[in-house]
Amino acid sequence: MRDEFLQNVDWDKMWQATRETLYMTAMSTVFTFVIGLALGILLFLSSPGQIWANRFINMIVGALVNIFRSIPFIILIILLIPFTKLLLGTIRGPEAALPALIIGAAPFYARMVLIALQEIDKGVIEAAKSMGAKTSTIIFKVLLPESMPALISGITVTAIALVGYTAMAGVIGAGGLGTLAFLDGFQRSREDVVWVATILILIIVFILQFIGDFLVSKLDKR
């Protein structure tokens, strides 16, 4: 029965595609976290009334974030093809998907970082200042630890969105489960391949959500 039902599934290929999806998701999540965090902190600290209050910087960064957040991902990939080619010398393979994935997701995450930082009690920042803390101390010992649960749940949502983006990155031949489901499954009318790829993507998403929720509950002492 089993063999007949899943007769079209090439398990080696399926495993290879899963690894590609995991690789793209993991790499892009790490870079998105770092870049989004930096942008979010910059947005927060340059907003009015904050330590680096600067209307010009705030406006520029805010505009960049909004523009890149608004471009549909599938279009962003195509727009970034020349940039990717310049950066990596190729537009094929999982690595080639990374610039688009990161540039698409980092501004999205930066907004979440900004919201997380705005949730911090202003009094706590004032208290740190009153103790004579430097700006770097305020960032690393007050802002980040105090907003960590929101930062983690934000990156969880972003990582899950990135799993979806990796599937779309198939258009530039990035590989992964999305490409496999589309090319090997849909276009050749092999439904079982589509189903297996979908289930694997679901499993990845569930695991990511579980890890995120677990970390948040561990970290949140409020």
């Binding site: 009690d121 009094g123 706590v124 004032e126 208290a127 740190a128 200042k129 009153s130 103790m131 004579g132 803390a133 430097k134 101390t137 010992k141 007050v142 630890p145 105090e146 960590m148 970290l219 002492k221 409020r222």
Partner: protein, 341 residues
Amino acid sequence: MIHLQNIIKQYGTAKNKIKAVDDVSLSVEKGEIFGVIGYSGAGKSTLIRLLNGLEMPTSGSVKVGGLEISSTKGKQLRMARQKVSMVFQHFNLLWSRTVKDNIAFPLEIAGVKKTEREKRVIELIELVGLKGRENAYPSELSGGQKQRVGIARALANDPEVLLCDEATSALDPETTDSILDLLTGINERLGLTIVLITHEMHVIRKICHRVAVMEDGKVVEMGDVLDVFQSPKAAITKRFLAQVTEPDAAKEAIQHIQENIASGKLVKLVFVGERTEQPVLASVIRKFDIDVNIVQGNISHTQAGPYGTLILQLVGENQMVEQAIDYLHEQHVQTEVINNA
């Protein structure tokens, strides 16, 4: 220790200016507990934040411990802040850190080594009476315990001045008293100068040596707590004093007597210092042929000594009553006729 000279702090744009602090000059001696009382919006929060440079004056000079705070910047200001620490109304603890780590935070900022930090934290936890709770998170503490952490944190770097920003306003009356006792103890033991702002006269009465009353950014009255209690000048000061001397129930009783009693005079006596311990009332009754009815009385302790008020109804011949009141004046008991029946 602290000298403010002609401080003005303005907010807003050129068109729409608000003077939060309007030409305030005052001095606080070393080792003193100095209270600033005012309703919200009186400018007291801004005033206290001028003392550690969280706010900078529009004009005027702020000197703390010989350092001109109003023209200090950067690293020097950060160093100065370690010696002028602050306790907050809403505690402002880091929820992500335990009691121990919250107290260690200012030490980390000051660059104290880990082993020394741990030693100091243990001392501080004992000082504020939080032994056994060192590994708790702020969310597991009561309001009073959180404020104890706030105070321990403020004391970590051996400050010379402690600024209390409505430190007891979020606490219930009993907890307020225990925190005030802690502050008095610290003041006596460490010789720390304390500046506190509050809207509760009770706080001023219980721990302050001197008080300044603020209204609309100006200091309208300033002096020794006992003097201000004995003879308040500004209307706002009298309103604040009523908080501690005339509970609502007493006000109602006085009104009732004023409306329903046909004879006699209602007088209010204010006793200060050793006067409270002398039997003035007994000698009035013995000397003059009048009836004395006690309407309301209370006595409370200030840092400088006891302070009491007594509201009496004096019934008798008019002349006798007048003489009795004169006698009270002679005894240096401040006497005020509230109402002629």
